[in-house]
Symmetry: C2
Subunit: 233 residues, 2 copies
């Protein structure tokens, strides 16, 4: 039955996100079953919103495939990108009534979608899971602190270098070649610079033989050590 297969796939994804360090095997299996049975898996097209800022925060999302961008826009039209999410990241858990940013797909994406009530219910029944989740939140917090640090410290070109190393790590799967799912404008809004500056950053790194660019989104890191040294200097 196709539904069952679906649930198994969801369970696998959930386990990699929530349960990877669970010691209590039984409780782990139980809560995974409960979540998987009530989770939906949905597929959305490219450049669509999973939710928008100030929507009531009813769901938690886990990307299974595709790429998602978290952003906030001002009334004047400018935009800050907070994060890029890929497979296995977690999105949307908060105790606040509404989201404080929008989530937009960069590519066609498949996500697992679970109602907040169900998550909380599981947390109440299995305190171990709630504790485990606390770790996830703390990890996200430390990632944002790192991002804040980068924003405050480095020059625009150094931030580009730092960004590319991060993307290689997250998208390269061990290879130095990877495909960026986001545009130069998205990168610029993530790193707090203009579109042109982000483009010039890429050009400079290419000219200096630190990276290779084919077809704009296909990037190869040629000299990781030198790129790292440049990003830190």
């Amino acid at each position: 039955m196709s539904l069952d297969i679906n649930k198994v796939a969801i369970k696998t994804s959930l386990a990699s996100c929530f349960g990877s360090t669970m010691k209590d095997e039984e409780a782990s299996a139980e809560f995974l079953d409960e979540l998987a049975n009530k989770a939906e898996e949905i597929t959305v097209g490219s450049a669509e919103y999973l939710f928008r800022e100030k929507d009531s925060s009813d769901y938690v999302y886990i990307p299974v495939s595709g790429s998602i961008m978290l952003e906030r826009s001002t009334s004047t039209g400018s935009r800050q990108v907070f994060a890029f999410l890929f497979t296995g990241n977690l999105l949307g858990i908060s105790e606040t009534a509404s989201y404080s940013f929008s989530a937009k797909t960069l590519t066609e994406s498949t996500v697992i979608k679970i109602h907040q009530k169900i998550i909380r219910n599981v947390f109440d029944k299995h305190p171990t899971v709630a504790k485990r989740y606390q770790n996830v939140t703390n990890h996200i917090l430390s990632l944002i602190l790192d991002q804040l640090f980068v924003m405050g410290q480095k020059t625009a070109h150094q931030r580009i270098a730092h960004f590319l190393l991060d993307m290689e790590h997250r998208l390269g799967h061990g290879s130095s070649k990877f495909h960026l799912p986001m545009s130069r404008q998205d990168i610029a809004d993530y790193l707090g610079m203009s579109l042109e500056t982000s483009s010039r950053g890429f050009s400079k790194l290419k000219k200096d033989m630190l990276i290779h660019i084919e077809s704009n989104y296909q990037i190869t890191i040629l000299d990781r050590d030198a790129l790292f040294a440049y990003s830190e200097s």
Copy 2:
């Protein structure tokens, strides 16, 4: 007995930090007693470290009086200030083994200091408190996102304006006049700009009659609406 009075004071502080929205009064009282009995209250001088980056994260701190700054420094000597903490803020809960920033006092400060183990113990016994604490973490997360947003969006002078409005809100206690506990350099490192630029920002806002400055640290906001409009423009 002075010790008892001490514990009562600690309990009051803890309640304002943790328990203000607790519905379950009895459980609330019980966990407060447990925390207060095992908490220490310590006083440290100005410009001292409560802990440093990479120290093992053994304690949670709650400022009772004074001001504390969270910072991270690079090997090259530059510094990023992540946050300023005042009375009633919470500091240091994390599941990671070590702190990812240092905490330095700006003024002589009194803080409540509780061992992580005790906190976790309380969380295990009282899941309600753990949930309540999750809210605190989520709130911190949203504050850092706001800070990231500000860093990415605004010009240096606008960030100063925004900063002053935030400080008025947190330090003014309803008045438009307040005392800044941090130096121009601290502000610069918080907002990602040079000392000179932060100083020029103050001068500009003074020249434009948006704020009044006496004795460098004593600030009065003269036209809140105009300052807000400037910070958003």
